[in-house]
């Protein structure tokens, strides 16, 4: 099915804590070089799954392989083949940038003769050559994030796990960060991203939506938007959003305010548009042209959860 091979494959992975089922028979397959997003709210089972994939937690039942190693029996080999970057970046604030890189080189057993070259690479991707003697704590978040990424891949892992990598980062730094990720994936690194942040999920090539320990949908962002979202989303520009929301609510139509527009999820746009126009004009609310818009991943998620 793929020219590259499989980076992660697990079947019926399950983990319980007492009577609580944190991960409920999850099966996944990620190909080499993919950017795979694992999207779900806090508490859905993302971290428990990642910890099992990284060999840090054993599953209650089920199994699989990561980077070609068995997650039940070869967790030590797995740890050497993966990189992990947490949302807190795990850098030492009171060390300089260079000291942080040296420290992680040691931890990951980067061969001596390769260390200088790796350090140089990190400093250039993070744009920190000039500042390598500064304390890490003084860096803006965007730089810290790229430095942390560099440290997480010092040992050139074949799979990189990213845990909500760009939460709280400014938009420009976020784009630069993703550019780096695309470069790595282009050179064959598999990237496994967990996030609860719908915006971030949009950067992934393929996504699995996880909710209450189960995968409720899987596919490219485009497929999720088109195949899994049965309803249409309409955008209605209005002069008085709060009154418009009230008028529609009285007629049993739920909407949400987005600035000076309303978003309405409907079963059938063709039937709904004239009805909405009638309701608004009866309430003498001025409305602009009603248009069908592409559902956001959040729309898809909410619609899937509500229908399950």
């Amino acid at each position: 099915m793929s020219e590259n091979g499989i980076a992660v494959e697990v079947k019926d992975l399950r983990r319980t804590f007492g009577s609580f089922v944190a991960v409920d028979d999850i099966s996944l397959r990620v190909e080499k070089g993919e950017i795979f997003g694992f999207l779900g709210p806090n508490g859905a089972g993302k971290s428990t799954t990642i910890r099992m994939l990284c060999g840090l937690l054993s599953p209650t039942s089920g199994g699989g392989s990561v980077a070609g190693f068995d997650i039940l029996r070869e967790s030590e080999s797995i740890k050497k083949s993966i990189g992990y970057m947490s949302q807190r970046f795990s850098l030492y604030d009171d060390l300089t940038i260079e000291e942080n890189i040296n420290f992680f080189s040691g931890i990951y057993n980067v061969p001596r003769q390769k260390r200088a070259e790796r350090k140089d690479w990190i400093l250039s991707i993070s744009g920190l050559h000039e500042r390598k003697e500064e304390l890490t704590r003084n860096l803006p978040t965007g730089f810290k994030q790229r430095l942390a990424l560099g440290c997480a891949v010092l040992h050139d892992p074949s799979i990189l796990f990213l845990d909500e990598p760009t939460s709280g980062v400014d938009p420009m730094s976020r784009r630069n960060f993703w550019k780096l990720i695309y470069d790595m994936a282009g050179r064959g690194t598999t990237v496994f991203v967990t996030t609860h942040y719908m915006d971030e999920a949009d950067y992934c090539g393929r996504l699995a939506l996880i909710y209450r320990g189960r995968i409720i949908a899987e596919g490219t962002p485009a497929v999720l938007r088109h195949r899994f979202m049965k309803q249409d989303v309409l955008e209605i520009p209005v002069d008085r959003p709060v009154e418009a929301l009230e008028a529609l609510e009285k007629e049993g139509i739920e909407s949400s305010i987005f600035g000076s527009t309303l978003h309405v999820v409907v079963e059938d746009a063709d039937a709904a548009v004239p009805r909405i126009e009638r309701i608004l004009s009866a309430g003498s609310i001025k409305a602009g042209k009603i248009e069908k818009i592409l559902p956001s991943l959040e729309d898809v998620f909410v619609s899937l959860i509500e229908s399950s």
Partner: protein
């Protein structure tokens, strides 16, 4: 229009040692607005919230909140506002109803007024069935709603919410926004902070805060239309090669890859053909190409740029 503003800040500055958290911040928020203060971590959002809620003094400058000065009358400010911090300020070892009573005591809500008000707050936050549950045993979404109910117990004029939906699941997040719209109908002014641009879209007006100062401010729809660029969304069959090819095309002012799509910002409308031509001449098939409205992220990147 002679109504006094809900929040009027002039030259708010706050330093911590050598760090400048806020640097001459000005704000003017009308009554009944749902204003979003948008920015990355460390931009000054929480400092602004703390000053506006009267719990922290600015180093210089002043703000009137519900017509009271945060510098000279912080106690009056606290009576007029509801403030929900990022941790929601709940007591985990108290039940839902005990938490609400605690806040009612704190704000000296008269005993006679409590029962109807508490009933209403529990109702609109859908917490009535859980009123005897320990706050520590609530889900993230329910904690957030309880935090909001506690912040509203004294019927404040201005509601200050510091990153209210951080880490909350999408369904709870929607419910929470519905509650905010209900509050707007009652003419409560809502001032919230967020790091998420998709969330900012829901506000009636937003201000982008960066390095302790407001850089851009307007209605989300107007900001999106303010960009003098035409945005295209392209779905090519080979995303990485397509991005490489487009890097070299003249007239492209912005380019970013999102999963299986590329967003391209064009300076001139006529470079549309140049884009599709360049891709086709490199043997890249275009699955779809269409014009899209720029996102707030596109606007911020193009108008503010990097750090």
């Amino acid at each position: 229009m002679n109504e006094p503003p809900a929040i009027a800040a002039r030259g708010l500055t706050r330093t911590f040692g050598k760090t400048v958290a806020l640097s001459g911040l000005d704000l003017g928020i009308r009554r009944g607005e749902l204003y979003g203060l948008v920015g990355p971590d460390g931009a000054g959002k929480t400092t602004t919230m703390r000053i506006l809620s009267g719990v922290m003094l600015p180093t210089s400058g002043d703000a009137l909140v519900a017509a009271h000065s945060v510098v000279n009358e912080p106690e009056r400010v606290k009576e007029k506002i509801g403030y929900m911090s990022q941790r929601f300020g709940l007591y985990e070892d108290l039940t839902v109803i005990e938490n609400i009573h605690f806040y009612a005591d704190l704000f000296e809500v008269p005993a006679k007024k409590r029962p109807p008000r508490i009933e209403r707050l529990l109702g609109f936050s859908n917490l009535t069935p859980f009123k005897d549950r320990l706050a520590g045993n609530l889900s993230g979404g329910m904690k957030q709603k309880l935090g909001l109910a506690c912040a509203l117990i004294h019927t404040p004029e201005v509601l200050l919410l510091d990153e209210p939906t951080n880490g909350v699941d999408p369904v709870s997040r929607r419910d929470f926004w519905k509650i905010l719209y209900d509050l707007l109908r009652e003419k409560i002014t809502i001032f919230l902070s967020t790091a998420y641009l998709d969330e900012a879209e829901r506000c009636t007006r937003i201000g982008l805060i960066h390095a302790g100062r407001i850089l851009l401010e307007d209605q989300p729809a107007l900001l999106r239309r303010s960009l003098d660029m035409k945005m295209l969304e392209i779905r090519p069959d080979n995303i990485r090669r397509a991005a490489q090819v487009l890097e070299g095309v003249e007239g492209i002012a912005a380019l970013s890859v999102y999963g299986d799509r590329i967003h391209v910002g064009l300076r001139k409308p006529d470079s549309f053909d140049a884009v599709s031509g360049a891709l086709e001449s490199h043997g890249i098939r275009i699955e779809s190409i269409r014009e899209i409205v720029p996102s707030l992220e596109d606007v911020f990147i193009s108008r503010v740029g990097h750090e």
